[in-house]
Symmetry: C2
Subunit: 329 residues, 2 copies
């Protein structure tokens, strides 16, 4: 069995309490014994039993993270950011992937909650009400990343409304007047709604009347992108298209190739996300890059600072990443 604080205490000829004080760097102890104890701990290969510590101090340092299985390829970026900051501040992440089945989700969340959690972070997930209720019933802090909710849960994400202005402005400057938005048509999604509104308002700002037909595609999935060309038919009723995720853009790119539509000469593509997927296509995708690592870091910092009030929204940076898929008209 493992080495405990008592083993160290015995060897050092002092009480377990003293060892604990030294190892946690709390309370009073002499530098001399501290030195000796730390040395012994190292030598004997001591590892704190975190469960015992958690039990003793009622507060835990574990943060639960809910990740959707429908793999968004930026989730790892966010997780990396969280992990980095969590490590820095001495927190632990309990990452859990959510299957699609609701009953399964409920069971998963419940088992997650049996850890005394500091907070639960939802990564770009839209939870069913049933699952959501389980979470809110438990009195743990909640935080949503990369997805704004309309129920008061604080969130961290890009400014989806402003982001669409950035994109539309860019396209307008390049001479584009007919622009389509693909993958943000879901009326129930807060993020999609913000994007649509930003899209429409930005066009209006430039005196362009918004054409409802040019907002299409519920999912921001590869399949949505693939079906885009076929849906509108060639010749396309727009010169540029905005993909609501990199993977949507790749779908459009491939569909264009299949249909003999030249990118960017016949069609310009710009996507939202800017993950490294944009670098491995030919031509390279032009994108607005979201700072996912920053979202992750901010999430942990926010939790650590206890600055989680309902309805708070924190916006992270966004940057234009020109690639080779936007033509100047």
């Amino acid at each position: 069995m493992a080495i405990t604080i008592k083993d160290i205490a015995n060897r050092a000829g002092i009480s377990a309490a003293s060892v604990s004080r030294i190892l946690t760097n709390r309370g009073r102890f002499s530098a001399a014994t501290a030195q000796r104890v730390r040395q012994l701990a190292e030598e004997m290969g001591y590892y704190k039993n975190q469960s015992a510590a958690d039990l003793s101090q009622k507060a835990s340092r574990v943060i639960g993270v809910l990740v959707p299985t429908t793999h968004t390829n930026f989730a790892d970026e966010i997780i990396k950011g969280m992990q980095r900051q969590a490590f820095e501040l001495g927190f632990e992440l309990l990452i859990v992937f959510l299957e699609d089945d609701v009953q399964h989700q409920i069971k998963t969340v419940k088992s997650l909650l049996s850890r005394q959690l500091l907070a639960v972070v939802m990564l770009a997930v839209d939870l069913e009400t049933a699952v959501f209720d389980v979470l809110t019933a438990a009195d743990t802090h909640l935080l949503s990343i990369s997805n704004q909710l309309n129920n008061g849960i604080p969130s961290i994400s890009s400014d989806n409304y402003a982001m669409m202005h950035t994109i539309v402005d860019y396209l307008y400057d390049q001479g584009h007047r007919q622009v389509a938005l693909i993958g943000a048509a879901d009326p129930d999604s807060v993020v999609a709604t913000l994007r649509r509104q930003g899209f429409i308002d930005a066009l209006a700002k430039h005196g362009i009347r918004y054409n409802p037909a040019l907002i299409w595609g519920i999912d921001n999935a590869y399949k949505t992108g693939l079906e885009t060309i076929q849906n509108f038919g060639v010749p396309l009723p727009f010169t540029a298209v905005i993909g609501s995720a990199d993977i949507v853009g790749i779908g459009i790119l491939n569909a264009a190739k299949d249909a003999g539509v030249a990118v960017p000469d016949d069609l310009s593509i710009i996507t939202v996300d800017g993950t490294n997927l944009t670098q491995i296509t030919r031509p390279r995708l032009t994108a607005v890059q979201q700072d996912f690592a920053q979202m992750g870091e901010l999430a942990i910092t926010t939790i650590a600072n206890q600055t989680l009030s309902p309805n708070t929204i924190i916006f992270t940076d966004v940057e234009m990443r020109p690639g080779d898929t936007v033509a100047s008209l």
Copy 2:
């Protein structure tokens, strides 16, 4: 503060021990009280304090998972598989991403070890000796997935040697006689070595003398693929190329496009991994698909069954996935 077993006991008019027995479904209790207790637990919103439970039963149900940050895009597949099986069997996964800095890695691993871990699973990582020593010093079980080690650590992976036979046979059947292997030239990597050996032996089997120049590229990275064409020069000294990972194949595909080499007419490409990346290229990549989810599930099963003896190697399935990047000569 949270509801405890005692609160339930009080309300039910029985002792905490009985409640525990009922909730863990161990020992003796009557169906009637069980019913009542479970009902109360539900009503009162009880969540087991897992820390206390872990402390009480010395054995923990937490499995540590080490994941490299240099993102291999199949890691999530493996994790998903692990998660699914872990949930099934009542285990928990503590997933930790490893930064590149060794000192940082050591600290990370140490903090991981302060949880009483059932086992530590390494996901396709090659650890520095220093980090490795920390792991072996702690008396926890170790298991390596998707990467064979030469130090006795049991592992789960595809049969890399046999896999190269599968690939070479396939290419040979399509008429290819000059074949290159890209991204497996690292002499220190056990996996790369197995692949090289399989490659060479498979060629020999068909009476083809192995040309050392055609094994090139240390990393299985995008960059390696990108530089391949330039490295060999056009016309290429081979008709088919094996990418040691999908991402390498994509690099080769893009470089070929840039160099005016037609795929598959002038060059056939086949990759190892078969992740969904192969579906989003044009043409679609032909690949041998590894069953990553299976690796993950098996890892957990193996740990659960305690069948972890040193030097054990478990092979998972591999399947040929024809795409559009291999031509028949």
